[in-house]
Symmetry: C2
Subunit: 497 residues, 2 copies
């Protein structure tokens, strides 16, 4: 039976991906510096083996044959997702993939060097090469999938997301935020006047911060028999669903940044740990995509851990691990004001919940124009500056380092990926609304440190659904409606207005 | 060029082995318990891939063609070793390997269960199956290699080791030890009377013990840019030469056991780190074999760290990390008496330097008889008891748990492996003698914590030679003579007489 062949292939791929995931986590957390060269050789070999195994020509025949086999509904969903992944993985010629990967590597190397030097002029030609290939790629993907070019790029990260649906949502959000950011800043200034911001009193021992993080992970439902927390330079959530490797980093002068990072990654980890175990070898059993994954981390970070009721429970936990002095003289309002600070800034990754979407919308607009051919790389700095000035009142024209050179994504050929971040924030808010409707006392549960209710809802409606449905279908099945920007807007108004 | 094909294959194998080694080390040191099932699937897949890759039929053709290519002397040595490994890996039919592996797995499972129950009767039939297959295997290996059956088994672990050479050496050692053990015990009793044994005063914090171990590893030449020390239930030295993963375990009531374990594994680690880097993808660039590997760990543990001059340097290091109280009122003589304690016992892994070889010789004799068909499994308990009684004055007849059931090796099909342990001890002593001749002031260096001299000698004569020569040839090139039991005997007389 060809479906059985696909399952056997899935198990092989799972074993290879397991090795890559653990070797990569080990590299970031444990590997001594001199181990890097041979590790890179091994991981690169495994990536090649993975690609070769996943794109073998006979798989196409198995899929075709399996389509006429007598399959259960679950098997049909698995087959559909297998086919989707296979089509996405095989629609570019091998020679093109090589050229693309070389151009991206070159652009990334230049980016690392030239960003620090604020040198756009010497970086632009490399990025132009990447954009030219991204246009070709979008067209090839579009032809293979029967989609518009930019939709075909988004399809890699969030199956089912289309510009026709996403653009109006983000447009509405943009219009709102351009007016709302100044209002939120004024409201914040008034609050700060009434209640001056506090500062934490360090130093905070790393071991104590680690224990605090572990204790909150535990309370939030992280399963330590299937995962662990380590330290790395860049925090991540990696590993595999049965062995999730989460990391954070610590500074001793304050603890909230690391703790919020831990809570964010815990959101990712809960999704991975909550996936259906029996389907882990099939694409249909894996997490749905970038936006949905980000919605799970932002749900924990923004919807739960930035909310006042969360801190009714969390403040004593902080005191238990870091001592009463850590937040001495703070009350819940002070913590909430601190974690929800709003500030206009140049840098996306440093942005807060309110201004972040404007950074994303800027990129979403520019990269559609780049892929569509209505914008050239050479004109990006002006276009970036114009939008930053319009959206956030900040000019980047003399500072490409903090403008279009701040992210590695485009150099890495990641077009169609940026929207996922903000879609994740919207989805998180929409999930929270559904949970509040389903469980009117959910805030009391959270204030009591009981996350079993929110977890049960997400397990049933998101985690266990894995990749059975497209991103929009999954959202609609979970929350009863399509992506609705009004929910996130209402959330921002309530929190920051 | 076929030699180039073999090198490319070697790089592929190195990448697969790298993944297996790091995944295995991670499993023992970091993996949460629930990660085990999927980890086993991944590692088992990689083992299968490794075997398939290493034994592909075209390799035989490449080797044959490469033999007529114009190769440098280094390449010829590499080709010879490649062929040796390939021949050893391909001389058993796949179906036989499967049967063997099933029988061994069954015997190991029974062993784990029945050893605790002291139940030989129910274990024996499974072991009989393994022995029957081991006899077949020895014959097939013998035919393929043109060796006697037991020699063909030893060849897997120590290329070039033959019963004709090893048996007289161990016979001489046995004759000596049967008389010497009682003498050493009497001498020890006299020393204890004159100077009663001391006990260490714990508790010793694990973090402090770890720092002590790290500091000694550093002094002994362990390269922390290419390795690290972790904790595991069973100490090991794993990983790869560019990323050596060493482990120990700690108890807080005393520290010498863990420290000696660290020093032992450091010996293994130095060998791996000292191998020629440019040849790491070829069999010729890997460590020579089990006896030579054990000689490197025993060199550090027994020849260096059990010697009085070592402790002139080491005692202040212990005090630095564990406090002056750790060995308060001890002097060098006390430490040396403690680490060199001699005691008759049933259990090989608990045995000391003097009695250990008798445990090995017993097994060497019994397994030759088992493979040769002059002993049957059913008669092993009596044979074991007779030899234990003769060699160490201890009867095991009513206690198979501490007799022939104490080791997993035979269940695992490891015949021809046991001698390596004691050959390692002899080789270590022989190396030490050569070093002392070459560097008359070496003991002063060691008493000053300077191991650069011993390391330089071993790097040149052992580590950098990798697998260029057979075990006996490597020893002869390094020390100027074949394996000479008199050196180890003299060492024991000097230390314990």
């Amino acid at each position: 039976m060809s479906f059985a062949d696909l399952e056997a292939l899935g198990r092989k791929l799972e074993s290879i991906e397991h090795a890559i995931a653990i070797l990569s986590a080990d590299e970031a957390t444990n590997m001594p510096v001199g181990g890097g060269e041979k590790r890179a050789e091994s991981v690169s070999f495994l990536h090649g083996l993975r690609h070769e195994t996943a794109t073998a020509p006979e798989i196409g025949d198995w899929i075709a044959k399996a389509e006429s086999e007598d399959l259960s509904e679950e098997q049909q969903l698995a087959l559909r997702e297998f086919k989707r992944v296979y089509t996405n993985a095989t629609c570019l010629p091998a020679d093109f993939v090589r050229r693309k990967s070389q151009a991206e590597m070159r652009s990334e190397q230049l980016w690392r060097d030239l960003r620090a030097k604020n040198d756009w002029a010497n970086f632009a030609p490399a990025l132009e090469g990447v954009v030219a290939l991204a246009r070709e790629e979008a067209q090839m993907r579009a032809d293979a999938l029967g989609l518009a070019p930019y939709d075909a790029l988004m399809e890699q990260f969030d199956p089912g997301n289309r510009v026709a649906d996403v653009a109006p949502v983000l447009e509405k959000l943009k219009s709102f935020l351009i007016d709302f950011v100044p209002e939120a800043l004024e409201a914040q200034a008034r609050r700060h006047e009434a209640r001056p911001p506090k500062t934490v009193k360090g130093p905070f021992a790393i071991e104590k911060q680690r224990e605090l993080g572990l204790s909150m992970m535990q309370a939030l439902g992280f399963d330590f028999t299937h995962g662990r927390l380590d330290v790395s330079h860049h925090p991540f959530c990696g590993g595999v669903p049965t062995d999730v490797r989460m990391t954070t980093r610590y500074r001793t002068d304050e603890f909230l940044t690391s703790l919020m990072g831990v809570l964010h990654e815990t959101g990712h980890a809960l999704y991975e740990q909550g996936l259906p175990k029996a389907l882990s070898h099939m694409a249909v059993g894996q997490a749905r995509g970038m936006a949905m994954h980000e919605s799970q981390s932002l749900f924990v970070e923004q919807q739960l851990a930035h909310a006042p009721r969360f801190w009714e429970w969390a403040m004593p936990i902080v005191a238990t691990h870091l001592g009463e002095g850590a937040l001495a003289s703070w009350d819940v309002e002070d913590v909430v004001a601190e974690v929800n600070k709003v500030e206009r800034g140049y840098i996306r990754v440093d942005a807060d919940e309110v201004t972040y979407p404007l950074h994303i919308i800027l990129r979403f607009e520019l990269e559609q124009a780049l892929i569509g051919g209505t914008l050239e790389v050479t004109d990006v700095p002006e276009a970036w500056d114009a939008k930053m000035t319009e959206y956030l009142g900040l000019s980047t024209i003399d500072n490409p380092k903090d403008g279009p050179m701040q992210d590695v994504h485009w150099s890495a050929g990641l077009f169609g990926y940026f929207p996922s971040y903000t879609l994740g924030a919207l989805i998180a808010a929409q999930q929270w609304q559904s949970i509040e409707k389903a469980m009117p006392n959910v805030l009391d549960q959270i204030a009591a440190g009981d996350f079993s209710g929110v977890n049960a809802w997400r397990a049933e409606n998101i985690w266990q659904q894995a990749s059975r449905y497209s991103t929009p279908d999954l959202l609609k099945r979970a929350t009863g409606e399509t992506l609705n920007p009004d929910i996130f807007i209402a959330h921002l108004k309530k929190r920051y207005g």
